[in-house]
């Protein structure tokens, strides 16, 4: 495995704006609430974006944000209150703990880490539901997290875009 900074990480990024984080999380919530035909094939966009911000901005986005988002998802989906809140808190914790490690890898290797993270989140949800007496819906529930992990490079590129843009292009600069 190729260790070292991928080219993308070498560019100096601008500080992130709170608006970017809020907008991305809102869009993720919207994507989650879209009327999908087959729920099992749809990745959990909120978990993906939350993991992204926990990895890239562990001091701004953390367990509190995850917990609140989880509550919103619980209510929006009409499931047991606290199911996603617990799963997302754990996701945020693991993502923050691993954030220094994950960023050393190239995007596709990062995606492997994220696959494990999302599978873990799904596993927590499943455990909670099975403990509450639901039937196991089949191994199809691992498909969503895997697709989500495959979207990680794309999500990374898109969400880092606002930080890559030059703040002020100085035409008259000497160098």
């Amino acid at each position: 495995m190729l260790l070292g900074n991928p080219t993308s990480a070498q560019a100096i990024l601008l500080p992130v704006r709170a608006g970017t984080i809020l907008a991305s999380l809102a869009v993720a919530l919207l994507l989650n609430f879209l009327p999908w035909k087959n729920v099992l094939l749809v990745p959990d966009f909120v978990a993906l974006v939350l993991a992204f911000w926990c990895v890239h901005q562990p001091r701004l986005v953390g367990l509190g944000a995850g917990w609140l988002l989880g509550l919103l998802i619980d209510v929006g989906n009409g499931v047991l209150l606290g199911q996603h809140a617990l799963a997302y808190s754990l996701l945020a914790f693991v993502a923050i703990t691993l954030s220094r490690r994950i960023l050393w890898f190239a995007l596709w290797s990062q995606a492997l880490h994220v696959a494990a993270l999302l599978l873990f989140t799904q596993g927590v949800s499943a455990l909670v539901r099975l403990a509450a007496g639901a039937e196991f819906p089949g191994w199809g529930i691992v498909v969503g997290p895997l697709i989500g992990a495959m979207l990680w490079p794309l999500v990374s590129l898109v969400l880092l875009l606002p930080q890559r843009m030059p703040a002020d292009v100085d035409e008259t600069r000497a160098l």
């Binding site: 919207l30 999908w36 919103l72 606290g82 914790f93």
Partner: protein, 306 residues
């Protein structure tokens, strides 16, 4: 205070502490919700916050439907028109007969002094989307408590019973489908009036009749309608058709699978019926009555002894 770090290094409590806090908070909520159902207030407040996003999320599909609606061919429309006209004719005939029968029933009921059955109040609603919970079978409809939808109301479509409203928000409500594993409905076989209870079979999209004796008089193709004795569903609504019967002498009960009559897993529009219309109170059970009397007598006894 001398040894505390300067405020610009202060990062709040350690992640593990935060995790313990939020995890215990979530677990407390889970227990409160799953065991005691104490969280409905919090849920309805959060639902109001989520509603704009949810309604925004249904826009793309609605827009796509509207756009594709423009490109429906004329032939298709004509075909549909003819079909609908034939259906209307049949329905109006049935309605006429129903009216006559209802008037007759009303007279008879008045004769025997029974309470008139109240006409059912119904609210048309649109299915916004399927519930995104793979562990249960629910749909979300666009009518809530502001439109007079109450928890427990039966939900039907043009072919039969779809399910039951299980949670009501201000502007939307959740309908648990008949095929959900935790959903039960009391039914009656049209052919011979045999009563049974149909349970959802979960992911197969079928219903099953449990606790029917191996020799129960039921056969493939039997139509099941609501019996109305549960007080929730009005009697006579189509529920399902018996699709498969397995009678095995080794077991006390037969295994009976039924196919739901309504488009439980598909379809866009439903009717929410008013719930619990004109239900009489349950009579007091003879056993408890007797015990109460016994208790009274026992209580009286010491007095008599004094």
């Amino acid at each position: 205070m001398e040894h505390s770090p300067p405020p610009f290094f202060n990062r709040g409590p350690a992640p593990l502490v935060r995790l313990a806090f939020f995890a215990s908070l979530s677990l407390a909520l889970l227990v409160l919700d799953a065991r005691f159902r104490y969280t409905e207030g919090l849920r309805s407040v959060l639902a109001l916050a989520v509603y704009p996003l949810q309604s925004l999320a249904t826009l793309p599909a609605a827009l796509a439907e509207r756009v594709s609606g423009y490109f429906v061919s004329q032939a298709q429309l004509r075909e549909e028109n003819v079909e609908l006209r034939a259906k209307l004719l049949g329905a109006s005939q049935a309605a006429q007969r129903f009216e006559a029968a209802q008037a007759e029933t009303g007279q008879l009921r008045r004769l025997i002094g029974a309470a008139d059955r109240l006409p059912l109040r119904s609210t048309p609603a649109e299915i916004l989307y399927n519930g995104r919970d793979p562990y249960s079978r629910k749909v979300i409809i666009d009518k809530g408590s502001q439109n007079g939808v109450g928890a427990g109301s039966p939900v039907v479509d043009e072919n039969g019973v779809v399910g039951q409203v299980t949670r009501v928000h201000a502007l939307s409500s959740e309908v648990t489908l008949l095929t959900d594993k935790g959903q039960a409905i009391s039914v009656q076989v049209v052919r011979n009036g045999l009563r049974a209870i149909a349970f959802g079979a979960g992911s197969s999209g079928m219903l099953e009749l449990r606790f029917m004796a191996t020799n129960a008089e039921i056969q493939n193709g039997d139509k099941l309608v609501t019996s109305g004795i549960d007080g929730t569903y009005p009697p006579g609504l189509p529920v399902a058709t018996v699709a498969r019967i397995e009678r095995d002498a080794a077991y006390a009960f037969a295994r009976i699978d039924c196919r739901p009559a309504a488009g439980v897993e598909s379809g866009g529009y439903v009717l929410v019926l008013g719930s619990g219309s004109g239900r009489t109170a349950y009579p007091e059970e003879a056993g408890t009555e007797g015990e109460k009397r016994l208790g009274k007598i026992r209580r009286k006894d010491p007095d008599a002894a004094r």
